[in-house]
């Protein structure tokens, strides 16, 4: 019953999205105000419908309705309530429905918070968002319907994959989708502007807020994913350069380039075309990422069930969105030509350089991700792994780290490079001194770690100085930028230390045995059998101590979920500001109770995630930026002077 209502509402949502796609846009072209006015109500209706549909699917899980195929495949009678709720988005069908719901939420938000735009602008934006919603709703309905019925209904379900029975599942996917789908707003704004044929400052300032918000969500989504993988997968890694991770990282890189270029194009009539193009690229990468994840065409640890039809469907959507937008771009690019001159020695140039670095990184990682597919088509099987991505990203981040403080130091419009460099020189030595200190304090660092730590100190030192020396009262834009840049510094430091100074030991331990790893003593006190909720576990007891002082007792588990007949490793972690102690169980080696135990020491790993959270916070703070009238007038004066050739 509920399933049929859900099915019906899904169809109704699709119809609403189609109407939203067609009517306001037609109204715009015929200059029909009544038709354009339908855009907002239709958006609210679409959101109400998709949200209700989504909640119906949740209730099917809560009520354990196994007549619904998707429910019995991913739930069971033994599954605790909280995981029954999260199971809704635990597999393909439900996660796409969630995607659509989040999309509709963004559409409704745009409809609600667009008072400052003209009716013709709003109707165009919402219509373009309607195009995207239509595509994905059709995808849900025709290629991944979560409301399909199994008759007769099985008595019990197949249960949720144990790895997904975790707190991380509650927050990581929703956050990631908010970011992913949020980029569709930036995309739609760009396309709507192309249709209208003109972009002004107000338009870009407005779209910059939305991009910032989407970027903040995407950042926190990726951070949560990394943290989750670290504690849940039981082997202590935080980033694997897996195609699915790349699928979220690629749009992030492009969006990072985008928010930096927008900083220029909202002030000047420059880089407008580039801004539009980056918005198109960022969202196209989201769709491409979805294709990679859902089509099963690339080997990945994240295995959504492979289905060629779904792959082709998304590929067609990608072709329509990206192809359509790029065609429109090609037609309109002449009207977007910059009218303001950009001085070489100015912040504008640095922001352009930033976007070039980030877009180069994007394509480098995209190539690495796609190459296995290309080779596959030629009959060769290859894989591109961490060594490639790690090296490339390291090299590309060098110019980023070098130029970031310089960009923040240079003034808008026109400045002197030599003055800026002179102002930054002391910080070079401060960073060098701190790096040397770190080198000896942490008992040598390798080349990459040294470079990373230096980059961290360099960015931190300059950012702090720029905050102290900021003339007048800092505005939210400046504070946001500084916080985000300090976040980059914290991230760089944490990442360099974790990657290059961690200790990983796999040890065969007998009950009662003590092993020393990195100055800590680990005493293995055997394994006991425990039974919790819907699983049984062999729980190890490992006492950690240093110089005879007990620190903590860690209880890693080897879980067994009878329903899925699947074992799972649950690590136990003693988190710390400067060091995580990470212990997980391998397997029992023999009858005497000897176990294979992983013991990891991960220095400063939390700094990495904390740095990411600072970047997110920076983007959120920047949302509250209100450029005051005086600044705006000054800027207009600058631009007018420039145009008139007065200096």
């Amino acid at each position: 019953m509920i399933a049929s209502i859900g099915q019906f509402l899904l169809i109704l949502s699709l119809v609403t999205a189609v109407v939203l796609m067609l009517v306001p846009m037609t109204g715009y072209f015929q200059n029909n105000e009544r038709m354009m006015r339908t855009a907002r109500p239709l958006s609210y209706l679409l959101f109400t419908l998709t949200l209700t549909t989504f909640l119906l699917l949740v209730s099917l899980f809560v009520l354990q309705d196994f007549s619904v195929t998707y429910v019995w495949q991913h739930s069971s009678l033994a599954l605790p309530l909280r995981y029954r709720i999260t199971a809704t988005w635990g597999a393909h069908e439900g996660s796409v429905l969630m995607w659509v719901t989040v999309q509709a939420l963004w559409i409704a938000a745009v409809a609600r918070y667009s008072r400052s735009l003209s009716l013709s602008q709003v109707s165009r934006v919402l219509s373009v968002l309607g195009v995207i919603a239509t595509g994905f709703l059709a995808f849900v309905l025709f290629a991944s319907n979560p409301f399909e019925i199994t008759n007769p209904a099985p008595l019990d379900g197949r249960d949720l994959n144990p790895l997904l029975q975790d707190f991380g599942m509650i927050i990581h996917p929703p956050m990631l989708y908010f970011g992913y789908v949020g980029l569709s707003v930036a995309f739609s704004l760009a396309v709507a502007a192309l249709i209208g044929g003109q972009i002004d400052e107000k338009w870009i300032r407005w779209s910059r807020r939305w991009t910032n918000l989407a970027w903040a969500f995407l950042t926190v989504g990726i951070i949560l994913g990394s943290w989750w993988a670290y504690y849940e997968l039981g082997w202590g890694g935080w980033w694997f350069w897996d195609p699915v991770e790349n699928a979220s990282f690629l749009p992030w890189l492009a969006a990072t380039a985008l928010i930096h270029v927008q900083a220029v194009s909202e002030r000047k009539n420059a880089f407008r075309g580039w801004t539009v193009l980056l918005a198109i690229i960022a969202f196209s990468l989201c769709v491409l990422g979805t294709f990679l994840v859902r089509s099963g065409s690339i080997t990945s640890v994240h295995s959504f069930a492979a289905d060629p039809f779904r792959g082709i469907f998304i590929l067609v959507l990608l072709a329509i969105y990206a192809g359509g937008a790029l065609t429109l771009y090609a037609l309109r690019v002449n009207q977007l030509r910059s009218r303001d001159n950009i001085n070489l020695e100015s912040r504008e140039t640095m922001l352009l350089a930033n976007s070039l670095i980030f877009i180069t990184s994007t394509f480098t990682i995209l190539l690495g991700t796609l190459f296995p597919m290309i080779f596959d088509a030629m009959g060769k099987k290859i894989s591109v792994g961490e060594p490639y991505f790690g090296l490339m990203f390291f090299l590309l981040m060098i110019p980023m780290a070098v130029l970031m403080p310089l960009g923040a130091q240079l003034k808008w419009h026109k400045d002197q490079m030599s003055t800026a460099i002179k102002a930054l020189t002391p910080h070079f030595f401060i960073a060098a001194a701190l790096t040397t200190a770190a080198y000896f304090f942490f008992d040598t660092l390798n080349l990459r770690a040294t470079a990373g730590v230096f980059g961290g100190f360099w960015i931190a030192s300059t950012s702090v100085a720029q905050i102290i020396k900021f003339p007048g009262k800092p505005n939210a834009g400046f504070v946001g930028m500084s916080v985000a840049h300090l976040g980059v510094a914290v991230f760089l430091f944490g990442m360099s230390m974790t990657e290059h100074k961690d200790i990983e030991k796999d040890i065969l331990m007998q009950p009662g045995q003590t092993s020393t790893v990195g100055g800590y003593d680990f005493t293995f006190n055997g394994v006991t059998q425990v039974s919790i909720e819907n699983y049984q576990a062999q729980q190890g007891s490992i006492q950690v101590s240093k110089n005879g002082h007990d620190i903590v007792e860690l209880n890693p588990q080897k879980r067994f979920y009878p329903k899925q007949q699947q074992p799972m490793t649950e690590a136990d972690i003693h988190p710390g500001l400067t060091k995580d102690i990470y212990v997980s169980l391998g397997e029992q080696i023999n009858q005497e109770g000897d176990w294979a135990v992983r013991i990891y020491l991960k220095p400063f790993i939390r700094w990495m995630w904390f740095g990411g959270l600072m970047m997110m916070a920076g983007a959120v703070i920047a949302l509250f930026n209100r450029r005051n009238k005086r600044q705006e007038r000054q800027q207009v004066d600058h631009v007018m002077k420039e145009r008139l050739g007065i200096s």
Partner: protein, 152 residues
């Protein structure tokens, strides 16, 4: 040339140089860091990179798994039901490693007969078969005269 033009030319040259360097680095990094996937049949035909890591995938042969006492060393055989390769690994095997299941390992041939794995890859889902392994098994089935349909 006016100063502005000279600056602009300089900028363009700098970008071109940057792109060239990036491409050069990319090609080098790529050439040195891609990893080939080989099936036991290909390994038996000596078609594998020497002294370089590659991925070896297939099924873990039933009854082939052996532990070396008092260490974390294990030996097992990866098969595509046409040819076998002996694999040695020291460390902790992933949760879903089992005899009779698909597996992908990373490592190199240390002798003519022995593949020393540095990594044995885990999958999140036990119903999931790595696509390369699937293809390799199909190929062996269709092309190899030694194929014995997996019943051993």
């Amino acid at each position: 040339m006016t100063p502005t033009r000279r600056k602009r030319l300089l900028l363009i040259l700098m970008i071109a140089l940057g792109v060239a360097v990036a491409v050069a680095i990319f090609l080098t990094a790529f050439k040195e860091n891609i990893m080939f996937f080989k099936s036991p049949t290909e390994v038996a035909a000596k078609d594998y990179p020497i002294n370089r890591n590659f991925r070896l995938g297939g099924m873990v042969k039933e009854g082939s798994m052996q532990r070396i006492p008092n260490s974390l060393k294990v030996q097992f055989v990866i098969t595509d039901f046409a040819e076998d390769v002996k694999v040695e690994f020291e460390g902790i095997l992933p949760d879903l490693f089992r005899e009779g299941q698909g597996v992908v390992t990373i490592g190199k041939m240390t002798t003519q007969e022995l593949f020393t794995a540095e990594d044995v890859l885990a999958k999140h889902d036990e119903n999931y078969m790595p696509p390369e392994v699937n293809d390799a098994l199909k190929k062996a089935q269709n092309q190899s005269p030694n194929y014995n349909n997996g019943s051993n």
